[in-house]
């Protein structure tokens, strides 16, 4: 059972465009939602994170939008660059001990 559902599986965006990745969850006990970025051959690295009492968080070109009532959250990458090409994972913190990850989105930014 996938507790965090992520879409799309893959995404191609032109340079300068906006990349949008969506996630949905069911467990209302989740209380922290990070996004991780993974380049080929590397482990995931924390990109940005949000708590459910905040509707939006922005760090540079990266923004998380959070809709608590809909149990959905999304990552927006503004002015997408070829260097943003990577796999992105949303995640949710469950209880005290573990992250639950979405399936991942492979993002390709065409120059």
């Amino acid at each position: 059972q996938q507790q965090v559902k992520q879409s799309p599986q893959s995404l191609i965006v032109q340079k300068g465009g906006i990349s949008i990745i969506n996630c949905a969850y069911e467990n209302t006990a989740f209380d922290y939602f990070p996004w991780y970025q993974q380049f080929p051959g590397k482990g995931p690295a924390l990109l940005i994170a949000i708590r459910p009492d905040v509707s939006e968080k922005k760090e540079g070109r990266f923004t998380i939008s959070f809709n608590k009532s809909a149990k959905q959250f999304s990552l927006h990458i503004m002015d997408s660059q070829p260097g943003d090409s990577a796999t992105y994972f949303c995640a949710a913190w469950e209880g005290a001990q573990k992250l639950v990850f979405g399936q991942g989105t492979r993002l390709t930014i065409n120059p």
Partner: protein
């Protein structure tokens, strides 16, 4: 200091053999996690160590999988009698104390191929 390191970076084994994967966490981090990343899938939690507490083994897929953490630092994930479906990237992560909003720092992973 150095980040999380894992060894080997790649491992090819034959079905039925045992394998050991090693993780060196960031110095001073008391929490250590193992995840499995299968092709096209997200990261699947396997096991969690926090200090001297009993590990959370709830994610281990079968009794062929086991892990230990010696001296609160290095961890070894062992897969006995490997099967082809065990082929995946095994990722290790560590964090300072293992609390919800802490950043988990991931190693580069071990790519396991079972023939």
């Amino acid at each position: 200091g150095a980040g999380v390191s894992q060894s080997p970076s790649n491992k090819v084994t034959e079905k039925g053999k045992d394998v050991e994967l090693r993780c060196d966490p960031i110095s001073g981090h008391t929490a250590l996690y193992w995840y499995r990343q299968s092709l096209g899938q997200g990261l699947e939690f396997l096991i969690y160590f926090q200090g001297n507490s009993a590990p959370d083994k709830s994610g281990l897929p079968s009794d062929r999988f086991s892990a230990e953490r010696t001296g609160g630092s290095v961890s070894t994930l062992t897969i006995q009698r490997t099967q082809q479906e065990d082929s995946a990237v095994y990722l290790c992560a560590s964090s300072l104390v293992g609390q919800g909003e802490e950043t988990q720092y991931f190693g580069p992973g071990t790519r396991l191929l079972v023939l």
